[in-house]
Symmetry: C2
Subunit: 297 residues, 2 copies
Amino acid sequence: MREKQILVVGLGLIGGSLAMALQGFEDYTVVGAVRSQSTYEKAAAKGAAQRITFDPAAELPESDVVILCQDPQGICDFLRDNRARFRPGSLVLDVCGVKGAIMECASCLPPEVDFIGCHPMAGKEVSGIEHAEATLFRNTHCLVVPGPHSTQAHLALVERMAAHCRFGDVVRTTSQEHDALIAYTSQLMHVIALAVCDSPLLEGCVGFEGGSFRDCTRVAALDVGLWTQLFTLNAPALTQVVEELEERLRAYRLAMQRGDRAALEGMLASAAGRKRMLNLERARGDDVRSQFSGEMI
Amino acid sequence: MREKQILVVGLGLIGGSLAMALQGFEDYTVVGAVRSQSTYEKAAAKGAAQRITFDPAAELPESDVVILCQDPQGICDFLRDNRARFRPGSLVLDVCGVKGAIMECASCLPPEVDFIGCHPMAGKEVSGIEHAEATLFRNTHCLVVPGPHSTQAHLALVERMAAHCRFGDVVRTTSQEHDALIAYTSQLMHVIALAVCDSPLLEGCVGFEGGSFRDCTRVAALDVGLWTQLFTLNAPALTQVVEELEERLRAYRLAMQRGDRAALEGMLASAAGRKRMLNLERARGDDVRSQFSGEMI
């Protein structure tokens, strides 16, 4: 009987951690694909995959599952360049933080290849195989966006792989809903952190920042190439939430400039109340996940 | 010989912690003033002061040092209502997070009373005497703004009290410089957190916020009355930094809307580089405090 194979393309933090977490999954062999000698050596040293190759394209005809873990542009290029090489009936996944643009790229695949967009909501402030670990996904969400030809069998396979990796749950959503959620909860926070650090006041405050400043700006020291891609690919959803934030900041500023203490107090009471409600709902735990209209699979 | 006395007016988190930290300071007795029976009982139970009173005005003629720890409006009202009762030659301090408006209020004091504005850069997310502790100020900055009649002897007394409370240092500054710093490093972070929580997208994201969202919005569940006062009193400096942030957010949005990836990448590289530099400077520690032009005393 032919051996089943999972190919993980790109052994960075996420790909490396997935390759490690997936080892021992049913009767699949985990093969990792790298580009640099340096990554090869680090991945081999920590046993990140059962076999490591420099040539992912050559593995495609024999791979039942392919997980694309490059940066967004790398994923799109790989799909386009190799669309005829994927094994018919195989499942292709990605791990990118934007979904609409990736699903659009994946539409180049032939109908007998099943693409399911994934977003493991896990990460670290550091990147690279040296920080990869099999436990990275424990108790995190795995968001999935089925493609037009996705089968129940493949969705069930994703579910079993996620359980093996110890994800907290698998939540099915649409690319539109995913991208709006990520624009607000993640990308906007990065734009804010960057914009705060642009201020000429930054240099003068070293050593005098409070906890709120450190927390808000923590993510500003980001990977420039990756985040330029993420912002660009999700520009429609992201520009909308940035513009809404500009308008709300303006409303606070105008209330202060008018000296309208009553209006300002009302705005603070409303927003602080919303945050307290969020804290309470989060404390209630699992049952609130249903608030996000994505369905659990 | 007459016994020397420090009067702490208002035993909340900061006042209560100061009263506790100051016990045993030289030959001073620490008296705490409260308004409610409930605070009285909690303060007495934890020995927050050597004596507790409901009538701070009656203590003023016998107090060598008075530390005003009410909210900003409470401090201003107290100064105005009791300006003739302070002991000639006494030192009056406050602990408020805005300084210009407080120094203006303190100008009602007679010239023989020395007012020095203070801002202990310490706090917790929770308030009240029940959270007060003598160790709250360890290794934090105490910013001080001398008044027009402040004496070297009183500045030296502040320095000794701060050392007794285990502040990391005492840094002298002006009310203008202080208020611009605080508008940027603290108040702006609170306005951002509020404005993010105003979004109608908030409800839909419960359970799917990443670390950056939690960090950025952490401070939104604020004390509405207190922060309305702080924003109002520091409106000139705060509205300026809010408007600058609106403009920077707009610049990011326009680069994304134009699809100008090169411009966007340049903006990300610049801001991320500034944040990395800040992290490095902070890691260098004490010697960077000189970047803030306030002088150490």
